[in-house]
């Protein structure tokens, strides 16, 4: 939700945080146990089809979509972990082809993956390692960790990661995400492993964090329509690799000619047709 004129001014002046133009991606899977030398064509999964989207700097954007819709692939393309087959993604006007390392200082991605830490190291040792990789100066690392420790209430940072609860693991992943100096924050189902209380806490924390930093852009995927509605300026609905709809809640309601529709109803409307 855009709150005031100041926010609008910032969003107008800054270059687009994301410009995705005609992004397409198909994954090929080798057929298991295919006889040696056989010419069985590989199975294919179309993850994205000519996907177009522009996100303004300072915007909060939620992407909804059923499982396998292509949401994670999109996030991985935007963070240069996967190269698209066709199309281009510009981050703050920079292309990955020419400014990959520059973009990596601008983008941070929260992985919904518990296995992305070193299990035998403590939470603090993990954060120290990733802080160095984010090129934070050695003298500033302790202070930066202290900041995220307070922000995310990381009470057992000196225990080994393998001893953490799912909630603590998720909070550590969030802390790592905010260690970097990134202005574009991408999150893949950030509240998936959190209980309702912690999920609620996370949402208000994100909201406060972003209100204090109006030049930061937040792009997240979720299955939780309430979360999308609570946080996002605009919402996109992705299904079968195609952006079915995109806009503010009112704009989405307008698209299905139902001014009172809930986001759940809108989601079902756009995804049921295809399935």
């Amino acid at each position: 939700m855009i709150t005031n004129d100041h926010d609008i001014q910032i969003m107008t002046l800054m270059p687009h945080a994301i410009e995705a133009k005609n992004l397409s991606k198909t994954f090929k899977h080798r057929v298991p146990f295919a006889p040696f030398g056989s010419r069985i064509p590989p199975n294919t999964t179309i993850a994205l089809r000519e996907f177009n989207l522009t996100i303004k700097a300072g915007e909060i954007f939620a992407l909804l979509g059923p499982n396998g819709a292509g949401k994670t692939t999109l996030l991985k393309i935007l963070s240069h972990l996967v190269i698209p087959d066709a199309g281009v993604a510009l981050i703050y006007g920079h292309s990955f082809k020419t400014h990959a390392m520059r973009i990596k200082t601008l983008v941070s991605l929260l992985l919904g993956e518990e296995r992305s830490f070193y299990w035998r190291l403590t939470g603090r040792q993990n954060l120290e390692f990733f802080a160095a990789l984010y090129e934070i100066k050695p003298k500033e690392i302790a202070l930066k960790i202290l900041q995220v420790e307070k922000l995310f209430e990381l009470e057992s940072l000196d225990q080994r990661y393998q001893e953490y609860s799912s909630g603590m693991k998720q909070r550590l992943a969030l802390a790592r995400c905010f260690l970097s100096q990134a202005k574009l924050i991408l999150m893949d189902e950030p509240t998936r492993n959190l209980d309702p209380n912690n999920a609620e806490k996370f949402r208000s924390l994100i909201k406060t964090y972003l209100q204090e930093r109006p030049d930061h852009t937040f792009f997240f995927t979720t299955h939780n329509t309430q979360e999308a509605e609570y946080l996002a300026h605009r919402i996109g609905i992705l299904d079968h690799g195609v952006l079915q709809a995109c806009g503010s809640l009112d704009e989405l309601r307008h698209l299905i000619n139902n001014p009172n529709a809930s986001l759940d109803e809108i989601f079902h409307n756009f995804t049921r047709k295809k399935s």
Partner: protein
């Protein structure tokens, strides 16, 4: 490459290994058991004085100890790049690292430094135990020749490791060719016996293996105190291997990274 990043990788590996407290003593025990075995094999043939060992002072124990110790570099160079990447893939941390402004070649190189250091310490342990307990004579050692040989040994052998790392990224498994190369070159390069004992045809095969020249130069430098001029033939072979294999290994590795990113296999395990 950023020094702080390299230090961070090194510190991470140290902290992880430090959690396995008994590993150090077990490895030291393994080295000692190895040395004892070959010490007694040497005693078995003490009166034989095989002609093939004459260029190495006729001492089989000294011959095999250097062969064993320095062939460790081959295993490390062949495997540690691919292992560094494979471990990150398997642990699920490669994705998180590649989201930072860290290049994949940094992950590979910085993630291997610990392994190279451990291998170097193991070589030193071999030599020290040999000197202290088994009368290994290193009094003639030419340190400059040892260091120069070591540098070109690591470059030429690591170039093969780049091929292995590229294969691992694309196929998400260890390189099976690695095992064959490692085993074959241990046989041909004279780790356990002088290559002059091989049939003449196989001696030509031995010539095109980097480890053969690395071991020759290393034995000459350590046991006979040969200068750089005296080991120039083996050194030139190692430099030639480095000049051919290193650029082609880099090229293959970058092509593999690109392919893995396109196929989406870079971060899968």
């Amino acid at each position: 490459m950023n020094w702080n990043t390299i230090i961070a990788f090194f510190r991470r590996d140290y902290l992880e290994r430090a959690t396995y407290k008994s590993a150090f003593f077990l490895e030291l025990g393994g080295i000692l058991a190895n040395l004892i075995t070959f010490y007694y094999i040497q005693k078995l043939f003490i009166t034989a004085h095989p002609a093939a060992l004459q260029p190495y002072g006729g001492d089989y124990f000294a011959f095999v100890l250097i062969g064993l110790a320095f062939s460790g570099y081959q295993s490390t160079a062949l495997n540690s790049f691919s292992t560094a990447l494979r471990q990150e893939q398997m642990q699920g941390t490669l994705e998180a690292i590649l989201l930072t402004p860290t290049r994949i070649e940094t992950v590979m190189l910085a993630g291997s430094i610990w392994n190279f250091l451990v291998t170097t310490l193991k070589i030193l342990a071999h030599l020290m135990l040999g000197v202290v307990f088994f009368h290994l004579d290193l009094s003639k050692m030419n340190l400059l020749s040892v260091i120069v040989t070591l540098i070109f040994t690591i470059i030429s052998l690591s170039s093969l490791g780049l091929f292995s790392a590229g294969y691992t990224l694309v196929h998400q498994k260890g390189d099976p060719v690695n095992f064959v190369i490692n085993a074959a070159s241990r046989f041909f390069s004279g780790v356990y016996f002088p290559i002059t004992m091989l049939p003449i045809g196989l001696q030509y095969v031995a010539k095109i293996i980097p480890l053969t020249h690395a071991l020759n130069a290393m034995r000459d430098s350590l046991l006979r105190g040969y200068s750089l001029t005296q080991i120039h033939s083996d050194l030139l072979w190692l430099i030639l291997f480095s000049l051919i294999l290193f650029p082609s290994g880099i090229f293959y590795f970058y092509k593999s990274v690109e392919k893995a990113k396109k196929e989406g296999t870079l971060i899968f395990y």
